[in-house]
Symmetry: C2
Subunit: 490 residues, 2 copies
Amino acid sequence: MRTSKERAPIYEMLEAHAAKRPISFHVPGHKGRTDWGVPGADQRYGPLMSLDVTELTDTDDLHHPQGPIAEAQHLAADCFGADETQFLVGGSTAGNLAMILGTAAPGELLITQRNVHRSVIHALMLAGVQAVLLPPAIDISTGLALIPEENLIEQTLARYPEAKGVILTSPNYYGLSTDLRPIVERCHAAGIPVLVDEAHGPHYGMHPLFPQSALQAGADVVVQSAHKMLNAMTMGAMLHMQGKRVVREAVLQALRMVQSSSPSFPLLASLDLARRRIHTEGPQAFEAALSAARRIRQLVSGTRFRILHAEAREISDGVRYDPLKVVCYDEWGQWDGFAVRDLLAARGCHAEMADARFVVLALGIGSTYEDGEAAGQALAAISKELGAARSAVSGEHAPLSGGLLLKAPQVPEPVRFDRQVKNVISVPLEEAVGRTAGEWIVPYPPGIPELFPGERVTVAAIERLKQWNRKGAQIQGAGDPTLSRIRVWD
Amino acid sequence: MRTSKERAPIYEMLEAHAAKRPISFHVPGHKGRTDWGVPGADQRYGPLMSLDVTELTDTDDLHHPQGPIAEAQHLAADCFGADETQFLVGGSTAGNLAMILGTAAPGELLITQRNVHRSVIHALMLAGVQAVLLPPAIDISTGLALIPEENLIEQTLARYPEAKGVILTSPNYYGLSTDLRPIVERCHAAGIPVLVDEAHGPHYGMHPLFPQSALQAGADVVVQSAHKMLNAMTMGAMLHMQGKRVVREAVLQALRMVQSSSPSFPLLASLDLARRRIHTEGPQAFEAALSAARRIRQLVSGTRFRILHAEAREISDGVRYDPLKVVCYDEWGQWDGFAVRDLLAARGCHAEMADARFVVLALGIGSTYEDGEAAGQALAAISKELGAARSAVSGEHAPLSGGLLLKAPQVPEPVRFDRQVKNVISVPLEEAVGRTAGEWIVPYPPGIPELFPGERVTVAAIERLKQWNRKGAQIQGAGDPTLSRIRVWD
């Protein structure tokens, strides 16, 4: 007899429905058939089409679940340690929108960090709220941005006790994070909920080698991209809630507003199946991916490439890493991340992302030892080809920190967000002071926006932009990447 | 040599990517593999998983398309007759949200009809706008709600010249519509754009037997559920724009805000393939579905069931019908739509929806003659079983009109929408006058909301609710379906 965690209620319901060979006089219009006149496509989609159904008597309604969807969500809450879990068909984007729309009314104030995913900024715009955007802490050894310092959050809570929530992003895109618990405890002591965009960490807390999850750290609302590291289909994500600091009905109402009224059942079933896999297998489910990570490290050892977390000294105290994000760089600093990414792609290994220093290989629950072998062999071959352009100077490689560190950052003024498209004009950098920024200006690395649309341009901001320019940072988002002019509201 | 309309750029790009057998070190975490430990599921999803990729150098970015997605969208604009087409992965919901968010700033005013899809109301709430909610015209022979009368829209335009747009829903859920062109012309003469939720009409204008499309009638923004009647996967939809009355960048920005930053490529490719089918085949693509509709009509002829549009006299002047929506009812009025729906389901034929009178069989591009045979035979058999409970009284069947017709409706006051969850209390119906409604109250048929949350409760509204109650209407949405009490804001 199967235990309940071995069930996949949504998937099983869809199979049971299809087994009845129902004749469909309801949407969708394909009626379970593929007939596109493209034989390859018909074969690709064919087996799945009869599961692509709609809300029927024997299916369920994502927005008011009472049957298999409710059951599947209960199982997911059990698996991830939440009080309540909502399946998302609009990706973590839908979750980030809902958690923010559900927490603050227009004009109310939230606290977050500058280095958030674009969907968080979109949520602030859509919500029409004010937000205090804190500078993140920078990991000193890598120059990568983390969450803000605990004492900065403490100062911010003291200055803005009316804040409706603190929004954090953890882990970052490179798989780095710090312990959320002390910050969660400070926020809760101030009566303020913590909302975490954990898009890159749906596997956290599921294996002894992974950092703890945001739910384990006590966060109130957590959004995870189940498609990023687990094996749900793309756009499959989950929103978890625990405790009573957030009005759950408000988050649920926001989800009903931002998500499709005809959600995809194959997508929902893939969330159910992804949960089932880790629920039944436990840590074992990640052993193949971990073996791939280990194999890359083995094969890269002795080459010109290094892996960020392969040696403990390269990660600062208190910074935790995701063993499934293999962050590579050229020890000699001659080849940037973009170049290494392209050399890997030429060998059939497609990386998640690259910047001026790093290339990030994202493993996932579907990764195999053979994948690790392929990437490791490719890196070893690339190293050999590039050769000893200069002799290795062990321990003397360029410092990784590329960030402009803020000493004792101050609590900034809140920015008022709205969703309207503005008329913008381009002005010389110096003349922008006192005006409102009309574009995002994001130096890479570390990818922390220096200006958001809607933010007042200060003398200090202009000074920082000039410093970035002198350092030769790559400026993303700006209409003029040389930053001699910037766009401001007209 | 293939013409460009025979191409399916997104699908072809995905196949080309998969053919390289790339090794994935990027999201999604399934890496193109299915390994859920559920063999049936692995087989169902298997062939499609290697197309479930993310934004890569050789794929494209839905939010800033420059490659195959841009090309596919251009082909779709050509096929549907738009200046610009956006593929939607969040269903028509995403399109309705974006067209409304992109048209009106918070506090600005829109004009719409009371009988809209919930996603339109959600958009008004999210947008924080005011809306004048017009009573729809009622088709006298069926009691079903259409769009508002032209002269009512004219009066409304005169009274609210500051309106930012007129939002119409056409066709309705039963496939009924009236000519949009006169209304579009009036709105354009007033300098006001027309936004149409054409979720149920993605096939309109594609066959001589189908009514013209909203784009053909001159609408500025049109949202269509390609999954409802064409053969895209569920959640696949399109937003079309033409002309310059709407600021397109504002609609696009809203789409970037409400849709996933990791859109599903299999879903996008299914939109591409659905467009290709009708683009290359033309009207021929719908012949099988039309043959199903004809076959149902043949088999139902001589039974106790009637089909709404099978006889011209049953449709009022100027009302057009969708031949792919087969709207059935018991001529003798003994069996309601719900009962007939259940009797059909017991014979394996699953209808789209039912109400107190009608059952709606929705055909689609995937429907076959055999489907029509099955539904027709089922209806004939049901008719035989139910027998001649009384003799047919030709031409004397109960009048279909169940609506409470408004004589010379007035232009109502605007309702201010917001997205906050309110505290509500339940009060006796009489005591609600002058307070703000805290729930939706929707009598069926015809499914037109009598009260929206946020709407001021008037004496007239209370009188109408009492009339509905006396008529024995089924009241949806209300906490107390007998309407002795209703919920209002505390």
